[in-house]
Symmetry: C2
Subunit: 159 residues, 2 copies
């Protein structure tokens, strides 16, 4: 294993741990429990799973590793806050979509050549990237891992 | 900037963002508000700040980058759950301790030679590290960044 493979492997391992934590927390909750708010007046767990599904799904084009799987979820789970539109997907189908996005993303991450992780992502211009080389794909993956843990901490309050 | 410096720089940047997020969330709360629970029956924000201070303080010996600054906080904030011992530090002093630990840690991370991040940390044996090279210092930093974001998500519920 080269040093570069170790750097990338460590970061992908942290992503997998965050996804595993979310799986562990949400699999303990019934579909009915997903309808509960993480704290009074706050987002439902159901909404957070949809929100995370969309944010992760958007990584396919952003990191240039594939096509999006569930763009139909954007409206309910990112464009609008919780309970501002009707629920468009059953809890069971939402769990499936979340798992599908995460597992296909992880496979794509593991297949990406090591050196590609330091290349720019789709949301930064060539000009900005020349000045700020840390705005690379690896930074996006670390940011999304942190975002997943942020919401995992909220879902944890249900147990 | 070499590729190795980019890998390490990206990871330290993610750590700094997590600490900045915690600073931003807690600086909005008064000392009185820190006494509130993040959700009914859950940890107080005050406790979470103490808990994060200890977990971060332990990184000095774990990553071999310095001596601990506040071992006296272990008993209240890690060994015991919230409200199982009297508060040993004022909110104001706790904020100072948290900031002191984070800023000295960040300076130590930035001073660590790039190649050292792939070395083993103090909590893994030589034998295990030979088999599992991803149990390196960088993995610990990413894990603690995720842990900081996990609790940031909970503190976010106070706003």
């Amino acid at each position: 294993m080269t040093d570069e493979e170790k750097f990338v492997g460590t970061t992908i391992a942290a992503w997998k741990q965050a996804v595993a934590r979310l799986d562990q927390l949400t699999s303990k909750l019934s579909d009915t429990q997903l309808q509960a708010e993480v704290s009074p007046g706050r987002n439902r767990v159901y909404y957070l799973i949809g929100h995370l599904t969309v944010v992760h799904d958007r990584l396919f084009p952003m990191l240039a590793v594939g096509e999006r799987l569930h763009p139909e979820l954007d409206e309910q789970f990112v464009n609008k806050p919780d309970r501002k539109s009707g629920d468009t997907m059953s809890a069971s189908d939402l769990r499936k979509a979340f798992n599908e996005v995460n597992s296909k993303l992880t496979a794509a991450f593991e297949a990406l050549p090591t050196g590609d992780w330091l290349k720019k992502h789709a949301a930064v211009s060539d000009e900005d990237f020349l000045k700020e080389p840390l705005r690379n794909r690896l930074a996006v993956l670390q940011s999304r891992t942190g975002h997943a843990m942020f919401h995992a901490g909220q879902i944890r309050l249900m147990q």
